[in-house]
């Protein structure tokens, strides 16, 4: 497949210009670029959702024009969207067949076909399970299956790993290699460079709407690729000068939280969790998602009431304090899911600046809002945190993910928190913004901020943290020194394979460290 000189203009903007890409059959071709570089527009053009103003698309030597996705499907191009489009209350089989009833009917023939595809590419789908019972990775496989079922020979995957944990990413890549081996072509959009290098056969880099170069994954490092992507030298995530003090900021002791699931079974999602974060310390928690990290944050924020245990912030007990008290007491919060917990998407930026800090200056005085001051301060945040927006009256929804996140970081930092709870602070954020957010966290740490960092990005965890803990099934099972640990070791501890104090074999070690006791 070849794209030549693709240009797409929107009124007033050129989203893509002079794009040249050649994708060879039977390869995994990665398309990398910052958020807003024009990857998605390009994919929409390729999938027939938008028509290019100039340029040609050639498939197997034939020049083609697509005026709708069905044209693209007819040409064997299928797309797996970033946000899944599945009906929760239908089974896997029904979801796959939905809309494609004409292909193999809805009965035994369809089932045979689904199983055949699933087996030949190692997708391991269970056709009769309801989609609502599936995890994210399984849903993604169903999406891939859907596309294959419709006869796609070329798959476009839009940021497929954004929602997956490391193990699931590996499984996905295994699937992709399987597809490749069967002669299918995969176009893989991502800005996670490490992943791109591990799975792609060829890489095309897009910057500001145009292709700036191609790279051969065998001879490229993530750093080179990132520099190609942003067009400048990157700051490295690691700078180590310890700012840790011995003043405890957050102390958690014996925190236990149980939930009762719909079947009436009581589960302990947090089991005697205990740790201390000092002023100027970043404590990272590693763990496969779903091992209690979300619940830990919610218990710390007061969104869930713990069954047992004591939480102390700067000397004050807040175990059962309401969320607002905790926020006023100096907890900043960068939530895991910014759309659900961090923003009012349809409200203007300045109202989003008030969110979470409505009782604090400059947002309000004596119970009354102060929109003027809030607006002014929003403008400051936009300026200082480099939020790319035409103004503060636009809705939060109209910003890109990275800029939304910068706004949230700016907002939380503006209240000089004592403790920052940062959950996946750079998830879905482009490289430039990522470096900026890291810088801000590091800077605040310097001034005595305590940070609880939860992330699925192991490099981020190791690079930012002063101490590391591993969470597994609601317990803190291991701790590690970020100066010596490798992502691989951390990854294996996350699966529960290792406990206690983790150290590289070279370092002499005898038994558990004293700190270990409280982490168990």
């Amino acid at each position: 497949m070849e794209l030549r000189g693709i240009t797409k203009r929107f009124p007033g903007v050129v989203a893509n210009h002079d794009i040249d890409i050649t994708v060879h059959r039977g390869t995994v071709h990665a398309l990398v670029g910052e958020n807003g570089a024009g990857k998605s527009t390009l994919m929409k053009i390729l999938y027939g959702m938008q028509k290019p103003d100039e340029g040609t698309i050639t498939i197997d030597g034939d020049q083609v024009t697509f005026s709708s996705p069905s044209d693209a499907i007819a040409r064997g191009i299928g797309m797996v969207h970033q946000h899944f489009m599945l009906a929760d209350n239908l089974t896997v089989l029904e979801n796959v067949v939905l809309g494609g009833e004409k292909l193999h009917g809805i009965g035994a023939a369809a089932r045979r076909k689904v199983m055949e595809i699933s087996d030949s590419y190692g997708l391991n789908v269970r056709p009769d399970v309801l989609v609502e019972h599936l995890g994210v990775a399984d849903r993604q496989r169903v999406e891939i299956l859907k596309v294959l079922y419709r006869g796609a020979r070329t798959l476009i995957l839009d940021e497929p790993t954004a929602v997956l944990v490391p193990q699931e990413v590996d499984a996905l890549f295994a699937n992709l290699r399987e597809l490749k081996a069967e002669g299918l072509t995969v176009i893989f959009i991502s800005h996670k460079l490490g992943e791109v290098l591990s799975v792609a056969d060829e890489i095309t880099v897009i910057r500001r709407g145009t292709t700036v170069g191609t790279a051969d994954p065998a001879g490229t490092t993530t750093k080179q690729l990132a520099e190609l992507m942003v067009g400048s030298e990157l700051p490295t995530p690691e700078t180590r000068e310890s700012t840790v003090t011995d003043v405890a900021m957050l102390t958690v002791d014996g925190l236990t939280l149980t939930v009762t699931d719909p079947d009436g079974i009581v589960r302990e999602v947090l089991d005697s969790v205990g740790f201390t974060i000092h002023k100027g310390e970043v404590m990272g928690i590693a763990g496969v998602e779903g091992n209690g990290q979300t619940e830990l944050i919610e218990a710390l924020m007061g969104l869930r009431d713990p069954d047992r245990g004591v939480i102390t912030l700067d000397g004050a007990e807040i175990s059962h304090a309401p969320t607002r008290k905790r926020r006023e007491g100096g907890i900043g919060y960068i939530p895991e899911d910014r759309h659900r917990h961090g923003l009012l998407l349809e409200s203007p930026l300045w109202e989003n600046r008030i969110l979470g800090h409505v009782t604090e200056a400059p947002n309000s005085k004596h119970g009354m809002l102060d929109p003027k001051a809030a607006r002014k301060d929003t403008e400051r945040i936009v300026r200082e945190y480099d939020v790319r927006t035409p103004g503060i009256e636009v809705t939060a929804a109209s910003l890109s993910g990275g800029n939304q996140q910068k706004l949230i970081v700016g907002r939380e930092m503006s209240h000089t928190p004592k403790l920052l709870i940062a959950a996946h602070p750079t998830r879905g954020v482009d490289v430039g913004a990522q470096a900026q957010i890291w810088d801000q966290i590091r800077e605040a740490r310097h001034e005595g901020l305590a940070v609880l960092l939860i992330s699925a990005d192991l490099d981020e965890l190791i690079g930012l943290s002063d101490t590391l803990r591993v969470m597994y099934r609601g317990r803190l099972v291991a701790d590690a020194d970020p100066a010596t640990i490798t992502p691989e070791e951390l990854g294996s501890a996350m699966t529960g394979a290792a406990t206690g104090h983790l150290e590289t074999p070279e370092t002499p070690q005898h038994g558990a460290t004293p700190e270990n006791g409280e982490g168990r």
Binding site: P11, V13, R208, L343, E351, V358, S364, G367
Partner: protein
Amino acid sequence: MKKFDKDRLLLGLAGPVLALVVAFLLTSVVLLLSGLSAIEPYELMFQQLEFTDIQVLIINQTGIYYLAALAVAVGFRMNLFNIGVDGQYRLAVMLAAVVGAAVDLPGPLHILLIVLVAMFVGAMWAGIAGVLKTTRGVSEVVSTIMLNAIATSLIAWMILPANLGQQPPGSNQLNTGEIPESGWFPGLQLDGGEIYGFTFVAFALGIVYWFTLNRTRFGFDLRATGASQSAAQASGVDAKRMVLTAMLISGAVAGLAGMPMLLGQTHTYSLSFPVGVGFVGITIALLGRNNPVGIFFASLLVAFLDKTAEGLDLAGYPKEIAQIMQGLIVIAVVVSYELVRQYGLRRQQQKVGEELAAQARKNKEVAAA
């Protein structure tokens, strides 16, 4: 920035205008299908406007609807669907009338007592739905509908002479007894009749509503909860308490909806008090986009339809046209607002993209120069 504001205003107006045009066209279709003129009824309705007594009726009705719609809007701003405004209003006005007739106080105090009783009763009746929702997760839609039915039966029982009601001599219409004159709210005497004094209180309440929602912390919390409950909770709002508070306020305002008539005209509650005011309030809150000014114009429009349609019977047109039109407005409003909302979001996203691209280009040129 000005540009975005103008855009928002235009988009804000596009919804109701689109809805009204569609509703108007569909009503005309109905008229044509029934073999009637599609123009003349409207002409007749506008002619009615020239009568001063009709004008007064419309304004009085506007005040009543305004209160009912504000009550609904408070809930809407928080994604609560208080369908029970009608029941809350009727129960409140009845018990307020009973209390009003039973006591004798100096003027302003007497009125204040009646108003407070009405607000309290409305709030309590709505509060039942609020408590059910926060403790048991019962949908407020279901519980308030049921509470409407219960209120109807409860009123019918309470108004029996054996209980709280009485039967005036020479009439078979039960009522709750006359409120002494100290409990009458003075009105504004015009050529066409008297405008209820409480109508002005209603409009003033619109200002309070705006101020509370847009200028207080509480209002911000309420709007945030309506915009995204999860985000509001993470921001420190106690969502359960917010649900209950919003229900109580909604009910209290609903309780006021009966005050213009009770304090300004009837001075007693009887079963001839209008039913369905709360439901019209839902239409109006929808049409007025929960905005106090929007609600005012929507109330005015619906009151106009109501009051001028009465005259249509004389000219051989069914006065139910007004009701058909109201119904069509509801449907059209829901559809057109969603369309306009999606269009607006898309448009803004695109605009932001454009402006950012323009900025980036300019930066590049500067860098190149």
